[in-house]
Symmetry: C2
Subunit: 232 residues, 2 copies
DNA sequence: CCGAAGGGTTGACATATATCAATTGATTTG
DNA sequence: CAAATCAATTGATATATGTCAACCCTTCGG
């Protein structure tokens, strides 16, 4: 693993406070691999052998049941995924596939659990990370249960706008079909939802979104930090 | 706090492995209170001052947005709630109200965080608990996104049946209106959904459910451990 | 340049779900 | 007991969302 990647991983909240020895030992057992797009990295139901870290590219976490499939989240660099399964030594609840060419580090789960047992700084970091993940899913659940698809899209756009720097125009960082899945609707419906937001000053050109009337859209979307603010 | 309650709390996964001193010190700062039914214990958005433990009775965790409200979960004895907010020292994402006369222990959040910092067994237990909570919400999310309301009800009944011991007949442990909210539908729709399950051998009499044709219902519900098994 | 493939869009339609209003039935309360 | 509540149900209807098929448009490879 190149030194710069090593340092980038070390800087993750999860690893930054742990003892040097332990970090080194974790990394010794890890390996890094480049994957092409559309590769299924893990499959739900399988035992959780590795903690994954996305170094570059992006990964879609999705889930299937009875022939249906839904996108649960997208993981972007640099962050980990399936921490909970690793810690609990339980089967993956979600599958993961690369969305593009991606570089992924794999740390054997048993190493993570072993270091977790001896390094209390690491254990504490894991607590914070899991609490964060938990709260994110709760927010997603509130979004799903309390809002219509049009409201979900409107609030997604406002979040994405803020994430992109706050300007009136910005790019979607999803393919639309997957955005639809993330938002819990069909691609056809997403298309109509974009039209449904036109009266509130939303213009779409390909993946470029322009919010022409910020106040109007916000009045409709009614964003709420307890749902839309991912930092708390 | 009576001795028996003290011991019951001590036996919770969360507290069972921590040092005696630390547990005692946690409990010293705690207080226990009896609440009547329908009392709002906490309100979403408020700072998380206390970790709550339900000793008896039951508590509904719910959330509101734009005049709508939804039930997120029900907490039954003996377990804790809002651990994540306590740990992160972040605002509650959900409100909580007693469903019946309930006895609740309140542990100051800062005590929990302080002991968490010095007792690594406690920290580890918190990790396990949070990982469990996280996975439960992911399952709930899959349930919501991948299933129709009829399928959710069918699978809920199968889970509840198992929880009640596996017999063909059992009691709902929810008021129907709240079950509807938990399952993400209206009470009217729940009523119709019960009718919709009649062809699969489900009989409803008040809160009593009878599953007359187990195989039929399972064939329709297609239960899946990665969604319906709460123990993993 | 052509044609195939695939994402995106659109329209017509089907289904699922919510809403509203009215009624029933059980439970509580004076 | 009777009145008052409130949950549960039912029917009629509206709205939201999904499905299917067709088409458009871009991209990519021969």
């Amino acid at each position: 693993m190149p030194d710069s990647e090593y340092r980038d991983i070390r800087k993750l909240d999860l690893f930054t406070h742990m003892a040097d020895d332990n970090f080194t030992s974790l990394m010794r057992g890890a390996y890094v691999q480049n994957f092409p797009a559309q590769i299924e990295l893990i499959t739900e139901g399988e035992p959780s052998d590795f903690l994954h870290i996305v170094i570059s590219g992006s990964v879609d976490l999705f889930s299937s049941w009875n022939g249906r499939e839904t996108s649960m989240a997208t993981v972007r660099p640099i962050s980990t995924f399936i921490l909970a399964a690793t810690i609990k030594d339980a089967p993956y609840l979600m599958s993961a596939r690369t969305l593009e060419k991606s570089r992924i580090a794999l740390i054997p789960s048993q190493d993570v659990r072993a270091i977790f047992d001896v390094d209390s700084n690491f254990a504490r970091a894991i607590v914070t990370e899991l609490a964060q993940c938990y709260r994110s899913v709760i927010k997603a659940q509130k979004d799903l249960k309390l809002r219509t698809s049009l409201e979900r899209l409107a609030n997604y756009l406002l979040r994405q706008q803020r994430h992109a720097g706050g300007g009136a125009a910005f790019e979607l960082d999803f393919e639309k079909r997957r955005l639809a899945s993330v938002l819990g609707m069909t691609p056809e419906n997403l298309s109509r939802a974009f039209k449904g937001l036109q009266p509130y000053g939303v213009t779409v050109t390909g993946t470029r979104i322009s919010i022409d009337n910020q106040a109007d859209l916000e009045r409709f979307a009614k964003p709420n930090p307890l749902i839309d603010d991912f930092s708390t």
